[in-house]
Symmetry: C2
Subunit: 228 residues, 2 copies
């Protein structure tokens, strides 16, 4: 974890790779490509073995690349982990968030849920939802990785909540519904589906939960409903 602390010279050249603005603004065709290839494999590996279980040696071996060559793309393991989180985020946004933003209000909420479910169900990540695993793995590990994960999860919950709120304004969801709570319940159910499907190797979990979530949304849209 904190191996070889005495000599930590990686951060002495603070922005050797992250600030390309010196002479040529963008010109590293080979480096960028391999970096992306590394991250693609790394995200998949990390979704299975965890972000901490993701090892530079194993990752390099999986890519048939030298450890040092791989390492040079990131200044430290923490940097690599951050980059992996970012790469996973891009995939998540691409598959779940963006398509839903073609709609508004209730339709957007439904699209967010549906997209999440097929994201979890399909083999987007071989180890199931990356963020479910990562957020539970890092909830007790202070650092940049944890901070970023917290940020992203808050944003995701905020997206759900905002969609619910918009649907309320549009009159599609009852005003008594607590948007924050409903968003949270949906998220919990979705993560539960992922959990069950991974742990029990039971793909039917998503079907079950799809029903539960739809029922929960219908309940919020009106019709009868018991409010005790």
């Amino acid at each position: 974890m904190k191996a070889n602390q005495p000599r930590a010279k990686a951060s002495d050249r603070p922005e050797s790779r992250t600030s390309p603005a010196l002479k040529t603004p963008l010109r590293r065709p080979r480096g960028l490509k391999t970096r992306q290839a590394i991250l693609r494999k790394a995200v998949n590996l990390a979704s299975v073995e965890g972000l901490e279980g993701l090892t530079i040696g194993k990752l390099a071996a999986a890519l048939r690349i030298s450890k040092s060559g791989l390492f040079a793309h990131f200044g430290s393991k923490e940097d690599l982990q951050c980059a992996v989180v970012e790469a996973a985020r891009e995939i998540f946004v691409e598959k779940v968030v963006r398509p839903a933003y073609e709609f508004r209000g209730l339709k957007r909420l439904q699209a967010l849920c549906e997209n999440w479910l097929s994201y979890g169900e399909g083999k987007v990540f071989p180890g199931g939802c990356f963020f479910s695993a990562a957020s539970l793995e890092f909830d007790d590990r202070p650092g940049r990785v944890r901070d970023r994960i917290v940020e992203l999860m808050k944003k995701w919950l905020g997206n759900l909540e905002q969609a619910i709120h918009d649907a309320q304004i549009a009159g599609e969801i009852k005003n008594e519904v607590d948007a924050r709570q409903l968003a949270f319940e949906i998220q919990a159910l979705a993560m539960g589906a992922n959990w069950s499907s991974r742990l029990f190797r039971d793909p039917s979990a998503f079907g079950l939960i799809r029903g539960a979530i739809l029922q929960r949304i219908e309940q919020a849209t009106g019709s009868v409903q018991s409010r005790e």
Copy 2:
């Protein structure tokens, strides 16, 4: 992970410590005591760092004990992990399951939920619910540890489902309710509360979810409810 596989002689003496029946049926006062002390610390450490992040060296250091002295209590790291899972199970049963079994039917279900919530809320494990973390960590790691976790989680879900079923027979919960699905939803909400409270350092998550679960149960017990 699989360090030093060539020489694996630990399992050659299969039951040197687990079968006490030879001459004296029960006489290892010191050994058992330290073993339990080890496991108590190990469970706490594992709930924070994960079952794989739990390291023999760190555990020994935390107990001010030699690595080899600790190691002798278990034949391998996998054995240690299994023992940790078992120790966590005992705590869980003690705090959550057993007290609820003084009741029957709906009351038992309510007690199971309430006990789980205060188990997650209180500092039973310093890293939050042990099994939420462990089951997500090991969902892709085949082996005895995973098998046992699966077994335990199935049993726990079965307990919830059975309580619901009993409540249905007693006429306390409506017959149309799908016991398996309700059990699953409750479990998902509970794990969601744990997730949120750990990740966002927000203890109010449990209050929110307590309300959601109670609402969900009330909905199942009757009154109005929309079944569209």
